[in-house]
Symmetry: C2
Subunit: 329 residues, 2 copies
DNA sequence: TTGTAAGCGTTATCAG
DNA sequence: CTGATAACGCTTACAA
C-alpha cells in the first residue's frame, strides 16, 4: 500500500479511500491509484484489515466428518449463499473429535470471522455468548444451546421409518442408532420407538445397537443384530453410512436384502439409489439445511436482533427396494 | 492482553514472554500471569499475531468439489498430518469454478497461511512464485506449474483399465473422459488409448465422450454412448461418480451391467463396492495422496530448499463385478 | 478532496 | 529478568 501511494504520488489514506470507495476522490487521482493497484497486483492484507475492522469477510464452518457424504451437501448449501454475498466460506473438519472441535472453534474465533456455522458433535465449548460473531448451529443441538439453530424433524423421521416397517408387516425389528449424545440420533430413535410402542411392537434392548454414524460401526452393529435369535426381519439404520455397513454385513452373512432382512435408512443420499438393493430411506434435505442456516446467519450478521430462531425442516419417506413385505404370522 | 498485564501486575512484554516462552520469567511472576490467562479465558488474536509474525498457523486447502467423495479422502490425509503438527486446516470449495478458485486463492493468501495445498481445476492464477507461502499442488497439474506436486500415475492407470477390458475380450469400447483441460483426465485417456492402439483395437471419436467428473454428466454421456451403433460392450468412466451415472444410464436403458455392457471405473471409492454390480475400478489412494502432499508441504514450511519435487503414487486394478468376459467373435 | 496520525493486538528489540 | 516502545498493514476521524 505504501508502494501504491508512492507510485501514484498520494497518501496512504487516499489509497484506502479509493479502494474502499469511502470518500469521493477526484477522477484523475482515482485513475492513478487504480493503475498502481493493477501494476503492483496489490491484494489487501486481510489480517491487518480484519484487525482494524474487528471482523473479516470469512464465514467459518465446522463439520464433524467430511467423509460422510451427507455433510458436503449441507456445505454446498451454505457455500452458495455465502459466496453470493461475497463472504468466503472456510471449513474445518473435526473427525467427531471433541478436542479438535474445541480447538478449531476457538482458533476460528480468533480469526474474527463474520459468522460461524457449527454442526456440533459435542456439548461443551459452545455457549451462546453476546460477544463474538453470530453463531448458528446446524443439524444437531448441543445441550443447553439457546441460540439460533436449524435442524430437520428427526423425531418425526424416525417415526415415519418405524410406521413404514410396521405397515410392511415387520414385527421383529433391529435398530442401529447413532451416538446417543447427539440430539439427532436421540430424536430419531425416540420417534422410532414411539411408533413401535403405539403399534404394540415389542423390542428388546439388545435389538438396539449404538454405533458411530459411520460405515464400519454400522457394519459391526448389523453383525451383532444378525446373530440374535430370533433374527430381526428388518433393520433401521439411523443414517445412510451405517445402512451401507449393514448392507455389507447382510451380504457377508449370506443373507439377502430385502428377502431375508429389510433395511430402512435415514438421509436418503442419492448414491444409495445405486446400491443393491436401492435403499429405502427417510430423506432429509441436506442442501436446504445448509442454505437455510446460511441465510439465517447472514441475517444475524446484518444485525437482525430477534429472539433466537429455531427452524425445523421436513423429512420425507423415499420408498425404494430395501424393504420387503412380510406375511404377518 | 492488557487486562492480563494489569491483573498480574506486569507489562505487556512480560505477558507475551510468558505465553510464548520466549524468555525465562521468574516462577512467581509466571504463575501470576498464567492464572490471569486462565481467569480471563484469554485467546490470542490470530489476526494481530499473524500480522506481526507475517504468517499464521493455518494451512489453506482448495478443493474443486467437496461433493465428490474422492476429495474428502485426500482431505482426511492432509488433516491428519497437519493437525498433528498443530497447524489448522481450512478448506475452500471451488465448485470447479475458475473464478471462485482465483478468489479463494488470493483471499487465502491474504490471510498469510503457513502453507497452501491446491487441487487446481484451472491453469491460471497459479504461478510458482518465490514470495508467499509454500504451495504444493495435488492430484492435478496446472499447465506450466514448476513447483511441488503429488499425483497418481494416471496414464498408467488408464492403461491398466484398457488392458483389462481387452483381456476380457472387449473390442467395442466407449469412454467417458473427464474435462479435457484437467491433466489427470487427459493422462487417463492417453493411457487408455495407448493400450487400445497397442492391441489394435479401433475406437471412433464418437465413442469418446467428454464429461465433467460428476454423476449427471456421466449419466448423459453414457446415454449417448448407448445409442451408438454398434453399441459398446464396455465403458471406461474416468472416475467413480461418472461410472455411477453410467450405471444409472445402463439401467434406465433396460440393459444389464455387466451382462449387456461392462463398466470399468477410476477411483475405487469404497462405496462403489456396494453398487449393483460392484464396480471394477482402477484404485487410486486418495488418503495417501493427501498425506504425502501434506508431508511435503510441512517440509517446505520448515525450510526445505531442494528443487521442486514430483511425487507420483501408484494405482492398482481392483476387480469386482462390473466387467464381463466377452466371447471374441 | 486530500493528507496526517492514532490505533487495532501482537511480538521483538533493546535498555534498564 | 522485566518493561517500554516500535512495527506489522490497514481504516478512519479529523485537520488542512
Amino acid at each position: 500500500m505504501h508502494q501504491i501511494a508512492k507510485l501514484a504520488g498520494v497518501s496512504l489514506g487516499t489509497v484506502s479511500h479509493v479502494i474502499n470507495e469511502t470518500a469521493s476522490v477526484r477522477e484523475p487521482l482515482r485513475q492513478r491509484v487504480m493503475e498502481a493497484v493493477e501494476k503492483l497486483g496489490y491484494q489487501p492484507n486481510q489480517l491487518s484489515r480484519g484487525l482494524r475492522l474487528n471482523r473479516t469477510n470469512m464465514i467459518g464452518m465446522i463439520i464433524p466428518d467430511i467423509t460422510n457424504p451427507f455433510f458436503p451437501g449441507v456445505v454446498r448449501g451454505v457455500e452458495d449463499v455465502a459466496y453470493k454475498s461475497s463472504y468466503r466460506l472456510v471449513l474445518c473438519n473435526t473427525d467427531n473429535d471433541p478436542a479438535k472441535e474445541a480447538t478449531y472453534l476457538s482458533d476460528l474465533k480468533s480469526f474474527l470471522p463474520a459468522g460461524l456455522l457449527i454442526i456440533p458433535s459435542v456439548d461443551s465449548s459452545l455457549t451462546s455468548e453476546e460477544s463474538g460473531p453470530p453463531v448458528v448451529c446446524v443439524d444437531r443441538r448441543p445441550r443447553g444451546w439457546k441460540g439460533d439453530i436449524v435442524t430437520v424433524a428427526n423425531e418425526d423421521g424416525g417415526y415415519k421409518a418405524a410406521r413404514y416397517l410396521i405397515e410392511m408387516g415387520h414385527r421383529q425389528i433391529g435398530v442401529i442408532s447413532g451416538p446417543s449424545h447427539l440430539t439427532n440420533a436421540g430424536d430419531r430413535l425416540r420417534g422410532f420407538m414411539r411408533a413401535l410402542a403405539e403399534a404394540n411392537v415389542p423390542i428388546g434392548p439388545e435389538y438396539i445397537q449404538e454405533a458411530l454414524f459411520d460405515r464400519t460401526s454400522g457394519y459391526s452393529s448389523a453383525l451383532r443384530l444378525l446373530h440374535l435369535l430370533p433374527c430381526p426381519t428388518a433393520i433401521f439404520a439411523a443414517n445412510d453410512l451405517m445402512a451401507m455397513g449393514a448392507l455389507s454385513a447382510v451380504r457377508e452373512s449370506r443373507l439377502a436384502c430385502p428377502a431375508d432382512v429389510s433395511i430402512i435408512s435415514f438421509d436418503g443420499l442419492d448414491i444409495t439409489e445405486l446400491t443393491d438393493p436401492a435403499l429405502t430411506a427417510v430423506y432429509q434435505p441436506g442442501y436446504q439445511l445448509g442454505y437455510t442456516a446460511a441465510r439465517l446467519l447472514l441475517d444475524r450478521m446484518n444485525g437482525l436482533k430477534d429472539r433466537p430462531q429455531e427452524v425445523v425442516l421436513k423429512t420425507e419417506l423415499r420408498i425404494r427396494n430395501s424393504v420387503a413385505r412380510m406375511n404377518v404370522s
